[in-house]
């Protein structure tokens, strides 16, 4: 990380040229794609690399003894190493490939939560969480007799850590689940502080980094968390691949999650023993090409530079918030740009978010509208839904201008 130096600006036109989707015209115009927090677009490096992989290196992994099997296994395990380096993890034994971020979080909830939690225990999630780091904990708490506690937030959508004292009085804190960056309003949560608080109580911290890993440099040791989940499709990779990083001693001690092929060491009528890490958590044929594709995406992101991507998105966020502040009837949710990722969620007084998104689509502007799988957060703000613009390395200030132009169209129709 180069926090002491200002990263050099991105060459966005050149980056855009790497993404075939920007060659197409939508409603007659170049696409202003402001929905990368939902899922990102893919560069040729990933798309062409996947085709080449399928054409020249594809077979199942870890079991084929022929040449292709060796190539496929090397590609799959090579991707694991790339993810390890990206996260600053000690060992590839700590990198588990899953289907997506949701499955990574469910893995911890089921494999750790169901066997470790019981009456008297407290599991903490937050009001800002995506449902994938909220519902599994609420569910396993109910199944195991533990208490589920929701850490609240203030009016700006920043976590109210003072509530932790009250939550602690409810029982033994066993685990805190929180996101690094809120997907619906963009808040950057104080994960290091929360993880330190949890560690003092011998509790675990599970971090949903799905909105962070694509956009900034992460280091699992610095975070101080025990588990970190991320997903490939939001970081230029294919869908169908996610990652769980977990501390080795925890993963070793944990019960398995999915059961079947690949995750076993030996099977007999009387007893089955588990394979070593990370295979113990990768039952069945894994998402082979998807993992390889994620590795290619990591190459691309690393080559561009995550610190430069973060700075670029910050610039766009500042600009978007300045522009939206001047737009009639628009209210932006969440904290100031210094404490948010490249996500700007807003409401407009005259129209429902879905109608806003529909009209923006007619202007060639793609945004997400809805509750963003964060209904507790929407309830916190007293609204059913928002319109959300999210930025990535291929976005420009012109995309923000197009958003504003589209919002003028919304006002012309509904105002």
């Amino acid at each position: 990380m180069s926090s002491l130096t200002t990263p050099t600006a991105l060459d966005v036109p050149r980056i855009r040229a790497d993404f075939p989707v920007f060659e197409e015209r939508f409603n007659g115009r170049e696409l202003a794609f402001l929905d990368s927090a939902n899922s990102s677009q893919k560069p040729r490096h990933v798309l062409e690399g996947l085709t080449e992989f399928y054409e020249h290196s594809y077979s199942n992994v870890h079991r084929a003894v022929y040449e292709l099997g060796e190539r496929a296994t090397a590609a799959y395990e090579g991707a694991r190493e790339k993810v390890r380096v990206l996260l600053g993890a000690d060992s590839t034994r700590e990198i588990v490939f899953t289907r997506n971020g949701t499955e990574a979080l469910n893995l911890v909830a089921y494999a750790w939560g169901l066997s470790e939690l019981g009456p008297g225990d407290v599991v903490v999630s937050t009001v800002l969480e995506h449902h994938s780091n909220f519902v599994p904990w609420q569910y396993v708490a109910k199944r195991s007799g533990a208490e589920f506690a929701m850490l609240g937030a203030d009016a700006a959508g920043e976590l109210d850590l003072e509530q932790l004292d009250e939550i602690e009085r409810r029982g033994r804190i066993r685990l805190v689940a929180l996101g690094l960056i809120s997907n619906s309003i963009g808040t950057v949560n104080p994960v290091e502080e929360v993880a330190a608080w949890a560690r003092e109580r011998e509790a675990l911290t599970v971090v949903d980094a799905c909105q962070a890993a694509p956009h900034r440099q992460l280091d699992v040791a610095t975070l101080g968390a025990d588990f970190v989940a991320l997903t490939g499709h939001k970081m230029l990779g294919p869908s169908g691949i996610g990652v769980l990083w977990g501390r080795q001693e925890l993963l070793s001690a944990m019960e398995p999650f999915n059961l079947g092929g690949e995750m076993i060491r030996s099977v007999s009528e009387r007893e089955t023993t588990w394979n070593e890490l990370p295979n113990k958590f990768e039952a069945g044929t894994p998402p082979i090409a998807q993992a390889y594709g994620l590795g290619l995406a990591v190459d691309y992101l690393t080559n561009v530079g995550l610190d430069r991507i973060e700075a670029h998105e910050h610039d766009l966020t500042v600009y978007a918030m300045e522009q939206l502040a001047t737009a009639e009837g628009v209210s932006v949710l969440g904290p100031p740009p210094e404490r948010r990722g490249g996500i700007v969620s807003f409401t407009i007084d005259c129209a429902h978010p879905h109608d806003v998104a529909q009209i923006l689509d007619s202007h060639g502007v793609a945004v997400r509208a809805g509750h963003h799988c964060t209904q507790p957060a929407m309830e916190h703000f007293g609204i059913p839904a928002t319109t959300r613009a999210s930025f990535y390395l291929y976005n420009t200030r012109e995309d923000v201008d197009r958003l504003l132009e589209g919002l003028a169209g919304v006002r012309a129709t509904f105002g």
Partner: protein, 138 residues
């Protein structure tokens, strides 16, 4: 401008017909579109075999709320059997905007019709079409 938002839609959205709640009522149902968070609640009264009065409340996008308003006008005064068999095409014709290439918004448009069919199903035992069977699962 998107052609979804023609004048009639905006008029029903801004000035919804039969908006409110009948209390007491002979039939009631509520439904959501989990994708959008659209929510529609419908109450109705019967006079013999006719749907004599019908009201709706709800929140959501212009399409879902305008469609509910239009449906009220379509349904009031019809017989229970007619409403239970009312084809969705009739409501879509009324809405009159191109939703075919937009399946997500089609769900918004048809939410209120599903809720009406559910209310009749519960109060009068009429068939609940497969399309809305999910409303009974909770």
């Amino acid at each position: 401008m998107s052609d979804l938002y023609r004048e009639l839609i905006l008029d029903h959205y801004k000035n919804p017909r039969n908006h409110g709640e009948l209390d007491p009522c002979d039939a009631h149902a509520q439904g959501q579109n989990p994708l959008c968070g659209d929510d529609v609640s419908i109450t109705m009264n019967f006079s013999g075999d006719d749907v004599s009065e019908i009201r709706f409340t709800g929140r959501g996008c212009a399409i879902s709320q305008a469609a509910a308003s239009m449906l009220m006008e379509l349904v009031e005064g019809k017989t229970v059997a007619e409403v239970a068999e009312l084809p969705k095409e009739e409501l879509l014709d009324e809405i009159g905007v191109p939703l075919a290439k937009n399946p997500a918004r089609l769900k918004c448009a048809l939410l209120s019709l599903g809720v009406v069919k559910l209310a009749l199903h519960r109060a009068r035992g009429t068939a609940l079409p497969e399309e809305w069977a999910g409303f009974e699962e909770r």
